[in-house]
Amino acid sequence: MGAQDLDLLSLASLLVFLIPVFYINRRLKLTINKTMTFSIIRMFIQLSFVGIYLEFLFKFNSPVLNIVYLLIMISIACQSILRSSNLKVLKFFIPVFFSLLLPFAIILLFFNAVVVRIDNLFEAKYMIPIGGMLLGNCLRSIIIGLNNFYSGIKKDEKVYLYSLSLFCSRIQALKPYFKESITASITPTIASMATIGLVSLPGMMTGQILGGSIPIVAIKYQIAIMLSIFYAEYFSTILSVLFSLKVGFNELDVLNQDIFISKK
């Protein structure tokens, strides 16, 4: 059994509530109507595409195809991470790509092999949605991590250089910024683990229950996915900072100024 299908028209009926939203925005002179409309349209289009190619992926269920799909997703994630962190894509793409790929691949395979124990490790039904959830969350944490790290040092450059002169080694001078960025990036997930279920039911669980799973199964999956998300975030953030050091700093350990996208 699955959830009842939604009629396209009845789905569109949800847009009715946009009318008061638009009205209030106008009265309050909030200038977000345009962005809002744009975002909603994008959501429709993007998800429709996802629907189409997920059907396609599920039908073929080919490991190679699934892996290619995830690699493309990682590349898109990289781009979006770097743009949001104000770092130059060309310089940072490779380090960030691998810092996403490594923990992601290990945890995803572990999840499929040891936790769910499916025979085909590359089964589309598991690999694609779980991979997507891991990626989406890593995206957020790496953005916070990288942003915090590089803008932190940029803002504090004199102090960083001065500690470099007092300590000698780059690792010692970078340590406080490293610590700060890791903490900032994983704090939201830690906080959400502590409050999950109290206020909101997580989206994955809701989806599974609607899809016909019994709640206890949905909950087990939710716990497994929360832990996996946390590990993937933790390791990919650490790796993203470590792997990017070579690009971020020159040979004499000074921050390269040309790594930032200049704001116009």
């Binding site: 004199k158 102090v159 250089l161 001065y162 500690s163 470099l164 002169s165 007092l166 300590f167 000698c168 080694s169 010692q172 406080p176 020159n250 040979e251 004499l252 350990d253 000074v254």
Partner: protein, 202 residues
């Protein structure tokens, strides 16, 4: 021991050095004077590897300032920056961290308390954070770090600007009396009193 040979450096379209030569012997004491903005601080930054020159050659103990030597070079230089850019944390934990990273953890405790006394600092300051300190206190904490690290080359950028006259004289004598290579950037006339100092006017 420190050699600058026809160094060229341009920053933001501004010529800072063009064919600049500068030589320092071991244990020499040099005072650099001159208007601000002519690259006095940049000289220090080049030695520490914080700035890279466009042309020419800079050596420290006959070694080029490159990746392979930079750790060793930094380890021999005590640099006191003009604003004493110490990380904002408790003085005590800052000092502990610096000593630990420099493998000086087991330093003599009496030397430390003698230094505090000499610099007219008391124990209370150890529990304050860097941000709470006055300019003069920061300067003295900076110098305290210098004495604790005891590195052979000192680069001091306006080290006495926030100190009173008695303190200035006392500290100057102590700094200059050391068997170290010392370069000082200062507008302060107190340094001119000492005749072992070579004065460079830029």
């Amino acid at each position: 021991m420190i050699n600058f040979e026809s160094v060229h450096l341009k920053r933001n379209d501004k010529e800072i050095f063009s064919g600049f030569d500068f030589f320092v012997q071991k244990n020499e004491k040099i005072l650099i004077q001159g208007k601000s903005g002519i690259g006095k601080t940049t000289l220090f930054k080049i030695l520490l590897g914080f700035e890279t020159i466009d042309k020419g050659r800079v050596t420290f103990n006959k070694k080029d300032i490159v990746k392979e030597h930079i750790k060793e070079i930094r380890h021999q230089i005590f640099y006191l920056s003009q604003d004493i850019d110490l990380k904002n944390k408790k003085v005590k934990s800052l000092l502990e961290e610096i000593l630990e990273y420099n493998l000086l953890k087991n330093q003599d405790k009496t030397y430390f308390s003698d230094l505090l006394k000499f610099l007219d600092l008391n124990d209370i300051i150890l529990n304050q954070s860097i941000k709470e300190l006055s300019g003069g206190e920061r300067q003295r904490i900076g110098l305290l770090i210098g004495f604790l690290l005891d590195r052979p080359v000192w680069l001091l950028d306006e080290p006495t600007s926030a100190l009173d006259d008695t303190m200035k004289n006392k500290i100057m004598d102590c700094i200059i009396g050391q068997e170290k290579t010392i370069i000082i950037i200062s507008h302060d006339d107190v340094w001119k009193k000492n005749n072992t100092i070579k004065i460079e006017r830029w």
